[in-house]
């Protein structure tokens, strides 16, 4: 088992759940929460065939690590987050949050806060590819500092 904390949080291609679940559950922890985001086949009524994830790699890596550390400090849990870059097919995993904590209350809160923060504070852009051959960048939200959220 490699040391997960030392690996990049930004990965080329779809994420594999098992890669992000290799760490043992701490003996003091009673709850494991996982959230994974996947590519849907429909968006605002349009049939989607896949998604490209573009990133400012340096800043995105920094921000993902900041979010991990902020989640741990705020909620008293262990956190691992990761995001995919590149082309993903329907059903593939674009983002993963893993939280290991004492009880489920803080586990759910930490997991929700981490994914909500990723969506607003990490410089990654979704480009949707439609069945009709068109492609479009999704509307986003102006980037926020991690600690403001």
């Amino acid at each position: 088992m490699s040391d997960l904390k030392s690996l990049p949080r930004l990965r080329d291609g779809a994420l594999n759940l098992a890669d992000w679940l290799v760490e043992p559950q701490p003996a003091t922890a009673g709850a494991l929460n996982l959230f994974a985001g996947t590519v849907r086949n429909i968006h605002e009524g349009q049939a989607v065939r896949g998604m490209s994830y573009h990133a400012h790699r340096g800043l995105a890596e920094t921000r993902l690590r900041e979010i991990e550390a902020a989640t741990e400090a705020r909620f008293g849990v262990r956190a691992v987050v990761a995001h995919a870059v590149g082309e993903l097919a329907i059903g593939e995993i674009s983002v993963v949050v893993v939280i290991r904590g004492g009880h489920r209350a803080e586990g759910f809160e930490a997991c929700r806060w981490a994914i909500d923060t990723i969506k607003q504070a990490v410089p990654i852009w979704k480009e949707e590819h439609y069945l009709d051959g068109q492609a479009r960048f999704l509307e986003g939200t102006p980037i926020q500092p991690v600690e403001s959220l």
Binding site: G58, L59, V95, P123, W125, F137, P142
Partner: protein
């Protein structure tokens, strides 16, 4: 002085290029660079106020002065997840 602007996400569409070179007056700031882009690209002008600037691996203040040879990045509204 000369500054390179890297255009991330949809900002490359708004400006028609992944990277743009701007000639700016000495002492120009990030805001001055955004103004120059807005003057040149109407699609960018419409979104100017939603865009942040990064320098290296950090968000930069738009009021900080730039230097000749600087590279800055346009960070349009994000859609991670």
């Amino acid at each position: 002085m000369r500054v390179t602007v890297e255009c991330y996400g949809a900002s490359a569409r708004w400006c028609g290029s992944d990277a743009i070179t701007l000639d700016l007056a000495d002492g120009a700031t990030g805001n001055d660079a955004l103004d120059a882009l807005a003057a040149r690209y109407p699609d960018f002008a419409a979104r100017r106020d939603t865009v942040a600037i990064a320098a290296g691996d950090a968000i930069a203040s738009p009021t900080a002065p730039l230097a000749d040879g600087d590279v800055i990045a346009l960070i349009p509204p994000v859609s991670a997840g």
